[in-house]
Symmetry: C2
Subunit: 174 residues, 2 copies
């Protein structure tokens, strides 16, 4: 079930009410959610070119989760990851239903775009909070990566809006 | 040989001096150049994670070339592609030399970032020139994709600048 009005999650200005451990926990949770979302979406996707792109995004988010866990272990050695209830951006849920039309796909891509955009802004905010240059650099890395994902999705989204052309130009058989 | 001052190629304000056939020809030439550059760079890259990312970019540019050739064939049926001498952004040359240090890689990534950024702006300009909404949409698609590549490269670039951390966080070697 996709809400027509997207829940944007934790407002960015609230970030400073949380500890760094909590914020990193939220980030890890968001990366896991994004991966599960993309994996389930790819499984249901019949457009091969788009399926591959979504699978690629799922792998990327997996790498981000691993990177964040290393950062966490480095900053808080021996401590379990704290997962706050709050979430960054829309809470992406695994896609459990069959995709019936291109409109279903368009809705989900729009949802994912929103999540990527908010994640990029979230990491940019974390960059300001981090106390050392190496940690700031890592947050910049994650922010740029998510921004890259946003544009990748935006590209597909724009083209999907004209399905007749999409199928023609992407050489999708009738 | 990488120039320290990057040749930015055709200034965007000159775009309207060329025919659409010539501009599409330039775009196809740029995608071919970018693919050859990324392919040769990936072959010489010993950092596995980065090698995979660069290979992915090479595949992407290949798809863009194919898409542009389909657009060309659709707009100018039966006509050979015109390749003007002018080029969009820095003319990326295949990497023929061995990469000796991370600084060599950083230079090349910076070069590629510039090329991707200019390509994104070029396609955005082409969007304004195209006469029909479907063609405008295709240019928007290409512009967003190249913008995505720019951010993907920027992320790696930022992290490569702190090599000690990069190798630690990407779980490279001892």
């Amino acid at each position: 079930m996709i809400p027509s009005e997207l829940d944007e999650g934790l407002p960015l200005e609230k970030i400073r009410d949380f500890s760094l451990e909590e914020l990193l926990g939220m980030a890890i949770k968001a990366e896991i959610g994004a991966r599960e979302f993309y994996t389930s979406l790819a499984e249901r996707m019949e457009i091969q070119a788009l399926k591959e792109k979504i699978e690629w995004l799922a792998e990327e988010e997996k790498k981000h989760e691993e990177l964040l866990r290393r950062i966490y272990a480095n900053m808080f050695p021996g401590e379990d990851v704290i997962f706050p209830e709050e979430h960054i951006g829309p809470e992406l849920q695994p896609v459990a239903r069959k995709l019936h039309s291109v409109e279903d796909i368009i809705d989900l891509i729009r949802w994912a775009m929103k999540a990527e955009e908010i994640a990029a802004n979230f990491y940019a905010e974390l960059e300001n909070i981090m106390g050392t240059e190496d940690k700031r650099r890592l947050m910049r890395y994650l922010s740029d990566m998510e921004r890259g994902h946003y544009y990748t999705l935006k590209a597909e989204y724009e083209l999907l809006l004209d399905w007749a052309m999409y199928s023609q130009m992407m050489n999708l058989g009738p």
